[in-house]
């Protein structure tokens, strides 16, 4: 589903990713772990196509397409979802307003019928319920006045509504208390644990992986994947720290 080959990327002319390769198949959950500054968030933003994150080498194939040839909104329509570490607050624009437009823009580009207002609200209510989020919160301006945990849950509600093929979740576990962590973990499983779907979890800690069990764990350091393994690698990292494992 996702094939990253020898990816090099710079931010403000500073090389961050230096030859990263990664292959993710449908049905798999991958976790990328690594110390601060390793390039984890840069990988997420580069896959999402954020302006300012410049690819200077390598290739990315996603669902049979050249991902780098697609604009951010086209990547979303192709089935890629980026969960933000710091979800953006947008005063004056409500979740339901923009999500319906976004969902229908995606559907149009895939040649599908747009959702009616009623159909959309039903879908939104169902996904909000999955994340135990009050539907009224989705009528409020995007992320404005939300706590850190509410923002992360709202990200997962959006993921549920948009129904992507591949979710790249950048530190979705940060800012969550113990209960919210479980709710978010179960939400990810409910939405993304399906044939034809895949997840890339970007995280510092083992704790989210207790709920969303990864098939593969990778260690990212200095812009490259330096080790890959099964779920046991996350436990080893948790016990010994990055320094010991990376060295």
């Amino acid at each position: 589903m996702l094939e990253i080959t020898d990816l090099h990327a710079t931010v403000a002319d500073k090389p961050i990713l230096k030859g990263l390769s990664l292959s993710i198949n449908a049905g798999e959950v991958h976790a990328i772990m690594g110390p601060n500054g390793a390039g984890k968030s840069t990988l997420g933003y580069t896959l999402g196509g954020r302006p300012g994150y410049e690819v200077t080498g390598g290739a990315i194939r996603f669902a049979g397409q050249d991902l780098l040839a697609l604009a951010p909104h086209e990547r979303a329509a192709a089935g890629l979802f980026l969960g933000f570490q710091y979800p953006v607050e947008i005063p004056g624009v409500s979740f339901v307003q923009f999500l319906r437009e976004a969902a229908n823009a995606q559907r149009r580009s895939r040649g599908e019928e747009p959702l009616s207002g009623g159909e959309f609200l039903k879908l939104a209510r169902e996904k909000a319920g999955l994340l135990r989020m009050d539907m009224d919160m989705l009528k409020r301006p995007v992320n404005v006045g939300f706590s850190g945990g509410e923002k992360k849950r709202a990200e997962m509600v959006q993921m549920g509504i948009l129904d992507p093929k591949l979710a790249i979740l950048d530190e979705t576990d940060s800012g969550l208390d113990i209960d919210a962590l479980r709710i978010v973990g179960e939400g990810i499983n409910a939405i993304m644990r399906a044939p034809g779907k895949a997840v890339l979890l970007i995280t510092h800690y083992q704790r989210l992986l207790d709920y969303v069990k990864p098939d593969f764990v990778h260690v990212l350091a200095a812009g490259r994947i330096v080790r890959s393994g099964g779920p046991e690698l996350a436990l080893e990292l948790e016990e010994q720290g990055y320094e010991a494992v990376v060295a």
Partner: protein, 255 residues
């Protein structure tokens, strides 16, 4: 009387950002004309107007002078989307306990110069006014808001607010604002704020990452931005119409 015959130039403080060629070519009798309205005590008048894009090639100046009687209310919504020089001017005098609510938007590109000029006179005690102006410009266009608030000696408990924000979509566009306060009473609340910037790129990427095409994302953000100006307009239908009129300019012309 004499005022009607003197042609302003850019040396006049109130006309410093105006289009000099347009002024020079204008007939002073037309240019300096005022529409005069009186709102009776306790009454409310609402006025919503659009200076439309493309309607006038050379320029247009509309001047409105309103006296609001005691306890009266004047609600004014304006979209200035015209070119090449388009100026809307309001001079509002508030009697005791009267209120002036103003929401204005300038929006346009090309070489347009779009101005909103207000002078609000709090002539008697307890009057309130609230002015919110938003500018969205691109190309080499300019959006201006000159807002003057005058509080008379006896006009205690005046509460006057003024807020201007501009978004410049391209590097060549500009915005000017000049708040002026002249206060002769001592128990008065006057607030003003101004900010000029670009569209929030982070918000744009966030919306795009959910699948919104750039033009739609930008429209949503600009709609939210200018909606501030019309938030206090009580007539829901008029509020939406003003928003649509402003956004229609964006559809046709923006980069």
């Amino acid at each position: 009387m004499s005022e009607a015959l003197v042609l302003p130039t850019r040396r006049d403080e109130d006309w410093r950002y105006a289009d000099a060629a347009f002024l020079a070519a204008s007939d002073p009798a037309t240019l300096m004309q005022w529409s005069e309205w009186t709102i009776a005590p306790g009454e409310t008048r609402r006025d919503y107007r659009v200076l439309a894009s493309g309607a006038l090639a050379g320029g247009t100046v509309e001047r409105l002078r309103v006296h609001v009687g005691a306890g009266g209310r004047f609600e004014l919504g304006l979209v200035n989307a015209a070119g090449r020089y388009a100026r809307f001017e309001a001079e509002v005098t508030l009697a005791e306990g009267a209120h002036f609510e103003f929401g204005g938007v300038t929006i346009g590109g090309g070489d347009n110069v779009q101005e909103v000029v207000t002078r609000v006179l709090h002539a008697e005690p307890g009057a309130t006014s609230n002015q919110i102006v938003r500018a969205v410009q691109w190309g080499r266009a300019t959006g201006n808001f000159l807002g003057r608030i005058e509080v008379a000696r006896d006009a205690q408990q005046t509460d006057a607010g003024q807020n201007f924000k501009a978004i410049l979509l391209e590097a060549g566009a500009s915005a000017n604002t000049k708040p002026e306060l002249e206060i002769f009473a001592d128990d008065v609340k006057c607030a003003h704020g101004a900010a000029i910037g670009a569209l929030d790129e982070t918000a744009g990427f966030y919306l795009a990452s959910r699948g919104l095409p750039p033009a739609e994302a930008r429209k949503l953000l600009i709609r939210a931005f200018i909606a501030d100006a019309f938030a206090a307009i009580t007539d829901e239908e008029a509020r939406l119409r003003l928003l649509d009129e402003a956004l229609a300019v964006l559809d046709g012309e923006a980069p």
